[in-house]
């Protein structure tokens, strides 16, 4: 038996209803993330150009964390130059 708090239930239902058949796995997302970050840095709409990457980043905490880190790294290295 699994017990849920309402807040947890809400979070889970949201994740369930937004499930789509064509989601990327973490490895697939990882394969695209460098291109995604560079688009973002170039001021282009990466989320629109690569919706499946955006979708994965919205649901996967780990990949999102690495995405934000990569973005921060590129910005900082760029500022050094």
């Amino acid at each position: 038996m699994m017990k849920l708090e309402p807040a947890m239930l809400k979070k889970m239902v949201h994740a369930v209803i937004t499930t789509r058949p064509d989601e990327l796995t973490c490895d697939e997302c990882f394969g695209e993330i460098d291109r995604f970050v560079e688009m973002e840095l170039a001021g282009k709409n990466a989320a629109e150009a690569m919706p499946l990457v955006e979708d994965h980043l919205q649901r996967c905490h780990d990949c999102h964390e690495e995405f934000e880190a990569l973005l921060a790294v590129l910005k900082a290295l760029h500022a050094e130059e």
């Binding site: 038996m1 017990k3 291109r35 964390e65 290295l77």
Partner: protein
């Protein structure tokens, strides 16, 4: 550090030509890339993890080996340095997550969700405006719990609690389940797909479930 094109990085990092110029270009590229990765990792962990400089250098070294090993998989769709940095971040964060979660067992994480007995979340008695809505919420919770219990395997339930409710990194859950990151993502995706299909089958509008908790 000199600016290099992607082609120059690849040429210099691949097995060097056996002459003095080739060797020294190769060595210089290794030195430059390692230094770049260490600098990048410093920015990557800032505000996230507390990491001694020596560890950053270890991560960079490990990443460097991985990068050299995988040069053929670089598709040239980004700058080489962007690609290299993403690998370094993945290497470092994977290890940092492993350390952060090393004393946590899946059993401990899941136990609170397996409690038996009456289920009366406090939120229901506190914030619900009307008895009618309270009733509605209770019914929704019971229904969704029933679906979860019927549709998911133990493995799926455990993974879902660990990742979704408790925020355990997917790779850490996978490690404890004798699986890998990709397979575990698929397992979670399957679980969500099953729940979604069953909700549709039962005519439970997700909007209604969510609205019950507005």
């Amino acid at each position: 550090m000199p600016k290099r094109t992607n082609q120059e990085w690849l040429a210099e990092l691949k097995s060097p030509e056996h002459n003095q110029a080739g060797l020294s270009a190769h060595n210089q590229a290794l030195v430059d890339l390692r230094a770049l990765l260490v600098r990048g990792l410093g920015y990557a962990v800032a505000n996230r993890y507390h990491v001694p400089e020596a560890d950053l250098e270890d991560f960079a070294q490990e990443a460097l080996l991985k990068i050299l090993d995988g040069l053929d998989t670089f598709r040239g769709e980004s700058l080489f340095t962007t690609w290299a940095n993403k690998i370094a971040i993945n290497v470092a964060f994977s290890e940092l997550r492993r350390l952060r979660w090393k004393d946590v067992s899946l059993q401990d994480l899941v136990a609170p969700y397996e409690d038996s007995g009456d289920f009366t979340p406090e939120v229901l008695t506190d914030s619900s405006p009307s008895p009618e809505q309270r009733m509605n919420q209770r019914m929704m919770i019971e229904k969704v719990q029933e679906i979860i219990n019927e549709e998911l395997t133990d493995r799926q339930r455990t993974a879902m609690i660990a990742v979704m409710m408790e925020g355990m990194p997917i790779r850490e859950v996978a490690r404890r389940m004798g699986s890998n990151r990709n397979a575990l993502y698929k397992l979670l995706h399957d679980a969500r797909s099953h729940l979604k299909a069953r909700m549709q089958l039962e005519g439970i509008s997700p909007q209604k479930v969510l609205a019950a908790f507005e």
